[in-house]
């Protein structure tokens, strides 16, 4: 990965607001809607749960592996798996292979489309840029995991301390 950055999703923080969804669809398609968004939000309203699901840019990308035409390929230098619409035949294999269900077929073209980390956008991917709760961040995964390590450790220490006091 050239800049070492990736989209990191923190489900605990997702409020389900879909700011990412509207931003993504507007940036890429010039219209707003869930059906043209590359990132999705799954909500369980009854239990107050929300989850954001986007492309994780897998190192061994199943979508690229199954693509029969070479339309879906990983740029190993940039660390981005992209779909070349000109080569895509709309067979849906990549969408079926994606373990997260974040590849969709475009309602206008019938071709597959997916996250490209908003290539060319100075402020980085719009989903992370617009996320109001910090559920999506565009950062080095290792830095994110390091921070998580510390937070989780502190939580455990706090809990142990509270247990002793209690």
């Amino acid at each position: 990965m050239s800049n070492g950055k990736a989209l990191v999703y923190n489900q605990e923080k997702c409020t389900g607001c879909r700011s990412c969804v509207v931003g993504c669809s507007l940036y890429h398609d010039g219209e707003c809607g869930k059906v043209v968004s590359r990132v999705a939000v799954v909500r369980n309203e009854r239990f107050g749960e929300s989850f954001v699901v986007g492309c994780d840019m897998c190192t061994d990308a199943p979508c690229a592996a199954v693509c029969p035409t070479g339309a879906c390929v990983m740029d190993t230098v940039a660390g981005i798996t992209k779909i070349n619409a000109n080569k895509c035949i709309g067979c849906k294999e990549c969408a079926m292979a994606c373990p997260f269900g974040v590849i969709n077929m475009h309602y206008k073209t019938g071709k597959a489309f997916k996250c490209d980390l908003c290539e060319g956008r100075d402020a980085g991917p719009v989903c992370a840029d617009w996320c109001p709760s910090g559920a999506i961040t565009y950062t080095s995964p290792n830095i994110a995991f390091k921070a998580k390590r510390r937070v989780k450790l502190m939580e455990r220490l706090e809990a142990a301390k509270a247990g002793e006091e209690g």
Partner: protein, 654 residues
Amino acid sequence: MYGWAGQRLRVDLSTGTITKEPLTYEYRRKWMGGRGFNSDVIYNEVPANLDPFDPKARVCFGVGPVSGTAAPSTGRVTVTCKSPLTGGFGDSNMGGHWGAELKYAGYDQIVVQGRAKHPVYIWIDDDKVEIRDARHLWGKFPREADQMIKEELGDEDIHIVLIGPAGENMVRFACTFNDVWRAAGRTGHGGVIGSKNLKGIAVRGSGTVKIANPKAMMDVCNRLRQAFKPDPMKIGLYEFGSLCLINVANRDGWFPWRNFQGGAHPLANNMSGETHAKTVLKHREGCFACPICCGRFTHIKEGKWAGEEFGGPEYEHAVPTGPRVGILEDANDIWHNARLTNDYGMDGIETGGVISAAMEWYEKGLITTKETGGLELEWGNAEVVDKLIPMIATRKGFGAILAEGADRASDKLGLGDKGHYYTLTTRGMTLPGDDPRGLGFGYGLSFAMGTRGGCDHLRSLCCLELSGALYPGLNTRILGDERPNKPVTTVGKPYMVYYEENQKATTDCLQVCCFTTHWCYTVLTPDQVEYLNAVTGLDFTEEEFQEIGERVYNLERAYWARQMSGAREDVVPERFTTEPMPQGVDYQTNVGVVFPLSEMLKKYYKYREYEPGTGFPGERKLKQLGLDYVAKDLAPLRSKYLSESEKKKKKYYY
């Protein structure tokens, strides 16, 4: 078409007829969307003498031109009908994701009329609309019915509007929900929906909203979303929900203690957003496309109600069945009551309003356990409130009387003027949990003048008067005068209320959340015009933006005038104008304040061009706004309103 879907869906439940009506360019430009479309339909199709529960009555759900787009907070829906609580014009709006889904399905508005033979729900799957059996859903809480419909239709990602048992039982202040918890609380349309044997409306939209100028839209949305990040109000609302207002309300003396007998209490922090976040907050929730995310999800961990879960509460939902009825010791009782009003599907404000009025009647000896069926309505009696909420929703015992709303209940019990003194309503609707003696004199004026049954905090939402500390210079920027930036002053307030009522009306027509425009003040009129034009490709100006709001506002006021409500009803409960604010805590800032309504009214009337005698919208203004037909409707009513026989009538509701 850009922005709008350009289509109204009309469902007649008596005949099962489903029609789609085009909304012309002229119509859209005149009424803009959501609240404007709804108000127009209600004015034209629901006459003054029609019973709100009559099958011929309408209930409208409206979204606006920017609904479903990337502008901040575009998920709101306005629900409008002739209110069974007040008998006059009634609307209310809710957040959630249903509004955006409706737009994606290709509709700007739904009008429901008639009455189904048995309980039904409406299923809108893009173009396909059907009326389906809901007999098995009748009596269910929204959280249960939501899941059952999703399973039945085989799609967990759809969005559903629902009423609860209170709506089915036509409680006069039942409300409507979408996404289970997001309520359009006020004015009682839940009962109207219930009277039509309609349980809910499920929507799946697989379309998009077309944007005329995507680049301009991206630019303005980028700018606004960055601006929200450091905004102090955004941070407060995100961290603590609207409960972040509790400690502020207590300091400034607008915390509704015991039916507004007081304005502050030493234990207020028990239910503050800060305490809530530390003790019972399970998750933060966001409505569609929201950069703020003030929604809460609560999980009670300790005590009698341990294990209970629900979406919410927010400030106005928590205080009425909490401090307003004297419950403050154990916040879990407050969260529990909020859970109850949610599940049964009742307006929390009105529920707390009627119970607190009943408690004050009980305290003052106007009623005894004989009338209440043995219930000891003492302040803070959480056990009784827990019993009473389901009794109201199911119209059992004393609950059946309270289910009529505070003023009707007072009359049913024969309490006369004394009873009405403690109902704290105007035009039949209870005041929300904001005391104008502390929150501000602009708010108080707005309570007297609001077009949805008198008192309401959301008609002008003049937070400009609270903004002095957070946003210095803002009043100058918007009103051209910095002096009105303090709550307890009358300076500049009539103009502030006039301006903000118009501004807020158009904001409601766009169906964007007023927390982006009136609490955070991150999105101002020029920004709204900018994204509106980017979405629609049209050439709206700030002047036209304000004019649309003024048109909607005058139409709603005319709805009241048509049923003989005018200047004589422009009042607030006497408690605020006669009883000086007592001291509740030593740091309270407004001890001794009374609310001076009359000195502001005259100036406000001038800005509005209301007629001094009747208070009806003036003919010149109506014509200027393109409402000649309204002027014609009102012309013969002016002398009637001023007649001696009308003057003698005491009108608490219509």
